[in-house]
Symmetry: C2
Subunit: 153 residues, 2 copies
């Protein structure tokens, strides 16, 4: 069960990311790294390191949120591939990476983890992208992926 | 829907892994790399690259298989962390990596993908590990993780 009152993002995640929205279970944040479109889902449950340590109910909610954000990345960015991963060797707080990858991106075909120092967005760039993500989340399913995407880009 | 008749593992995955078992949806294979305890789940569905391209039903089955194999890795190896990821930038066939990680392993805290050339098991080592995995899958839930693990190690 999520508990927004006592939840806090791990300091390292907090320093590397920008708040987007609290979903039913997870906090959605944008990695402040314009090298890659890169979101994180962080379940608002303290002291959990592995997906299988969540309750069965919360696991079901998390899988749904992963599917939802995967579709969002595809609608917004039309990537060649999605990368979805929970690694967490450095940050013990459970978090799921969702990254839109392109054959033309800097790290391809390697994973993006630890690839290069993050390249922060400008404040305007960050705000514009966050607004696009929120608009997509707000309208998803209304127009289908193609229509929504073309309207927003 | 899975289709074992027409399913075949991507040649690259075939060359790097050892067959363990066909679960309801996915083929479970062991990466032939004794640097890390590393399993793959490969849904037996052709021409699918992303989890969200599976039917909702198959996504549900896959999430269950990911949870089951996560617990298996924990029971058998007692890792410091599980890494669960679908990357697939090199191999277009959908496959989910499940890796038992240790603070003492060669790649820690980096991800294992592309870390170093695989170090193949001996035939005996491979057969022994496959047998342990099958025994754990066959007895899971009977004794709980601790009991099962201690009996098998």
């Amino acid at each position: 069960m999520s508990d927004s009152e006592s939840f806090s993002l791990h300091p390292r995640l907090l320093g590397e990311s920008v708040f987007v929205l609290d979903l039913e279970l997870s906090r959605l944040v944008l990695m402040n790294n314009k090298r890659f479109p890169w979101l994180l889902l962080v379940p608002r449950v303290q002291d959990i390191a592995e997906i299988v340590d969540l309750s069965d109910k919360d696991q079901g909610i998390l899988w749904g949120e992963i599917a939802r954000i995967s579709k969002l990345l595809r609608a917004l960015f039309r990537p060649d591939k999605l990368n979805v991963a929970t690694i967490g060797n450095l940050v013990p707080q459970l978090h799921v990476h969702l990254i839109a990858r392109f054959r033309t991106d800097e790290a391809w075909p390697k994973p993006t983890f630890g690839f290069a120092p993050p390249l922060p967005y400008t404040r305007d760039g960050r705000d514009a992208l966050t607004a696009r993500i929120l608009a997509e989340l707000a309208t998803e399913g209304q127009l289908g992926e193609a229509g929504t995407s073309e309207r927003l880009i």
